[in-house]
Structure formats: structure tokens, C-alpha cells
């Protein structure tokens, strides 16, 4: 009886394992079949895409022809990356700073909380045409939306997180001799860090997507610009390569932040039911 249960368990375990392994190749098989069925005007072949994926990093004649420069995808990837990272980092720092300041100075909280609530619900991309018109399609216009978005996400997260900091820990710190500043530095900040990193992890993926779209709305370089150019050429294979790069870097950023989150929450007790 026991051996029956064990062998059943091992059987089930094996099935799940193999399903996982074949899921990705299965996906590519379906892609290929779809390609065969629809033809190469509607969907690029996975084989073509793989063939050109690595060479086009540094050199893509099609892209050069469309006006995307002679160095392939690389400069565009770097452009989108650094715009997203710079913008998001700056916005986050401003967000945390203001969030803490608003909790420190009550008058700041009272005066800013309504405007923040108002801006928070507006879609960030709605600002782009306005910025492009006033400031041109400069770097500033592109990053400004990302900074604003990051700022709003992080400031709201900071305010919420500070509200959740254990009041008894703060009281205990004070009876141990901590000043208000020391309480903020040694109690409030470590307590809110997990929630903050969690919000940043989600936010930065959205920002990455927004940055690509902003570039599609008329930037001079970046992955979004590549999409814009390849549209005119109808170079479906390049579009798919671009999409792959977007996915790859989204996954990389997510993974890095996941590891950071795990480190930052290493002291947290696991909730067990």
C-alpha cells in the first residue's frame, strides 16, 4: 500500500517535470507551424528570427536602411535602458525623500497629499504629447514622464509603508534614547525598505514598457524608435527581435530586483498559517 503511494507520487512528479521541460520548445513548435500556415508576410519564421538575433546586435543592414544607424540594435537597447534606469532611479530617490519629508513635517503632508492623489490616477503617457510640444523630443521630455511615474509610485508606497511601521517599535526606540531623527534612520527606514523594493520591482517593469512607447511616439533612438522604423519596412523579423529584447531585459530587471528583495527581507519572519 505504501509502495503504491510512493510510486504514484514519483509518477506524478515525473509528468510535471517533463511538461515544464517541453513547454518552451512546444511554444516554438507552435510558432513554426503558425508561420507555415500564415506565410512570412504575416508572421516571421522562428528560424529566421534566431538566425538574425545575435548578428543584428551590432549590425543590421535593414535597420541602417530604415534610418536606425549602422550599429545595429545595441545603441538602441542601451538608449532605452539608460533612459529607463536613470529616470526611474531619480524619480524613486525624489519619491522616498518627499515621502519621508511629508511624514516628518505634517504641514507638507496636508498640502501635498491631494495633488499627489490627483496626479497618481492620471495615465503617465497622457503627458507625452504635451511635453514633446513644449520641450521638443529631447531626452528631457522622454525621461520626465518616467521620473514623474517613478516618483508617484514610490511616494505613495513610502507614505503607506511609513503608516505601517510598528508604533511599539518606535516607542521602544525612544525609551532606549533614540532621537526623532535616529528613529527615522534606524527604525522607519529599515521597516519600509521591503515594501519599497517591492513597489519598485513592479514599477520599473511598467516604466520600461512606457519608455518603449514614448520612443514610439517620436524619439530619435531607442527600441521604440526601432519599432517605428521597422513598421515602414514591414520587417517583421526585426520587430520580433525587438520584442524579444524588451522581454529579456524586463526579465533581467525583475530577477535582479527579486534578488535584492530577497536580501532586504532576509530578516522577515515567514507567515505560516
Amino acid at each position: 500500500m505504501v509502495s503504491e503511494k510512493i510510486s504514484k507520487k514519483r509518477y506524478k512528479f515525473n509528468l510535471e517535470f517533463y511538461l515544464r521541460i517541453i513547454s518552451i520548445p512546444l511554444f516554438f513548435l507552435l510558432w513554426y507551424l503558425l508561420f507555415e500556415y500564415l506565410g512570412h508576410y504575416r508572421i516571421p519564421s522562428p528560424i529566421t528570427v534566431f538566425r538574425i538575433f545575435f548578428p543584428t546586435i551590432l549590425d543590421s543592414p535593414k535597420l541602417a536602411m530604415a534610418g536606425g544607424g549602422r550599429e545595429g540594435f545595441l545603441p538602441h537597447i542601451i538608449s532605452t535602458l539608460y533612459k529607463t534606469l536613470a529616470g526611474f532611479t531619480l524619480g524613486s530617490i525624489l519619491g522616498v525623500g518627499l515621502g519621508i519629508a511629508m511624514k516628518w513635517f505634517k504641514w507638507l503632508d496636508s498640502s501635498l497629499s491631494l495633488p499627489i492623489d490627483f496626479l497618481r490616477v492620471m495615465p503617465p503617457l497622457a503627458f507625452v504629447p504635451l511635453l514633446f510640444t513644449i520641450f521638443g523630443r529631447s531626452l528631457f521630455s522622454q525621461i520626465a514622464v518616467i521620473i514623474l511615474f517613478a516618483f508617484l509610485v514610490v511616494v505613495v508606497s513610502t507614505l503607506n509603508a511609513i503608516n505601517n511601521v510598528s508604533p511599539i517599535c518606535q516607542k521602544f526606540a525612544i525609551t532606549l534614547g533614540a532621537t526623532r531623527g535616529q528613529v527615522y534612520r534606524t527604525i522607519v527606514f529599515p521597516s519600509i525598505l521591503p515594501e519599497l523594493i517591492g513597489a519598485i520591482r513592479v514599477g520599473i517593469i511598467w516604466a520600461w514598457g512606457y519608455q518603449v512607447i514614448i520612443e514610439m511616439m517620436g524619439a530619435y533612438e531607442g527600441i521604440g524608435k526601432v519599432f517605428l522604423l521597422t513598421k515602414t519596412l514591414n520587417a517583421l523579423d526585426l520587430i520580433v527581435v525587438g520584442v524579444l529584447w524588451v522581454i529579456i531585459f524586463a526579465a533581467i530587471m525583475d530577477t535582479i530586483l527579486y534578488l535584492v528583495l530577497r536580501y532586504v527581507t532576509r530578516w522577515q519572519p515567514r507567515v505560516t498559517e
Binding site: 511599539i168 516607542k171 521602544f172 526606540a173 525609551t175 532606549l176 534614547g177 532621537t179 534606524t186
Partner: protein
Amino acid sequence: MTVNVKPIVKLVDIVKSYKTEQGQEIHVLNNLNAEIPEGEFVVIVGPSGCGKSTLLFIIAGLEPVNSGTVYLYDVKVTKPSSKLGVVFQETAIFYWRTVLGNAQYGLEMKGIKKDKRREIAMKYLKMMNLQDFINSYPKELSGGMKKRLAIAMVYANDPEVLLMDEPFTGLDYPIKCRLQMDLLNIWDKEKKTTIFVTHDVEEAMMLSDRILVLDRKKIVLVYDNPFERPRKNKLRDEERFIKEVQKLRSRFIYL
């Protein structure tokens, strides 16, 4: 046991009331007076909700009074400070710091140098038998160990007075007894003035030099503990101890 030592904590005409959300005024303490001499272990007992925790927070400077004054060495107490150490009922240790980091916290805030504060922290962690866990995070400690850490943290900070708000309430009996012994051990070494609040009369009898019974918004009874020190766990089973606990319990139920 009367001690001719100058009182370190004086409570003069303390009046305290709360306003409920409905706007009702609830009087908690009414012209309460008490004096606690240096080096004494005083336990305040009373039924739940009688205001003993509130009184403790008032002494600590964490709660304001409606009128009356708290004196620490003849200086008025108006706000919390490291002179009045508090061990809260809820374990308030810092989960993001290691055990050693926790024990060093007060010293770190004072600006004491790394080596010195490590030395002091280790001394009290050893007294609380936590020396094997100095690099662990609090999440790895049991409930009793967390309490011991909180006590070590406050002791390491060298307050003038130690205030303890029902710290062992809610723990199961054997752990409670063990913690009481740990507390007496560490108290014995430095005889730090301690004000301990509880509703458990047996606990009060085991720990105290004097017991102040808080009932109907005042101290209604001052009881001198007859049992000699050092007190061991087996005292709990002795007939004279049980009798004395019953006697005291009955006295303040009918007061």
C-alpha cells in the same frame, strides 16, 4: 522590609482620565501618590483595565497626566528618555537587526564606540543566556528568548529605573516561571530600581520587595513581601507561599 533610602521615583497627586470616542470621560487615576526607593523591586498589581499600564506609561513619560507630577530624583518627568527603560507587553525588538545589533541599540544611539558597546551588550546577553545567538535574526528566536532579548536590551542601556508592563503575560506557565527566574538573576546583580506591572498575584509575590495594589483609581494597599531572597522556583510549591498569595488575592478582591 523598610529601607531608609531616598525615594528615586515619586508620584504626586496623579490624575488621569481618557475621553472615549463617544465623548465620555473615563477617570483612570485619581490623586494617586506613591514613593519608590532606590534599588527596590516594586510590583503594581490590580485587576485588568484598572489603569496600571497607564500608570507605568505615565511614569515613563510616554503618557501625559491631567494633573500631578512624576519625579525622578526630584526632577520632573515630562517626556520619555533612556533614564526610564521600558519593557513592553508586546515584544518590541527590532527584527531587521541581529540579536547583538538589538542589544547594542541604545548604546549605539548614545554614540558609544563599537568595541565598548559590543562588550557591554555581550555582558547582558550572556546574563540572559543568549550568547549563542548573537548573529541570528530575531525571527529565529522563540517567544521566551525574544523577551529575554528585550530585557537584555534595556539593561544594557543602563537606565535609572526599569519599567516593565506585564512582560510575561500570555506566555505559558513554565516559560513564565523560567523568565521570572532570569529576571531575578539579572536584577540581583545590579539591584536596579524596577517597577513591574502585572495582574498575576503569584508573579508579584515571587518577584517583589513590595507590592502596590491599584484599585479604584488609587493605591489601596502597600504590602511588604515577607519572603527572603534569593527566591527559587520551588518556593511556589511551599505551603506558606501559596497561603500568602491566597491571602493577598482575597484582600484586594474584596477591597
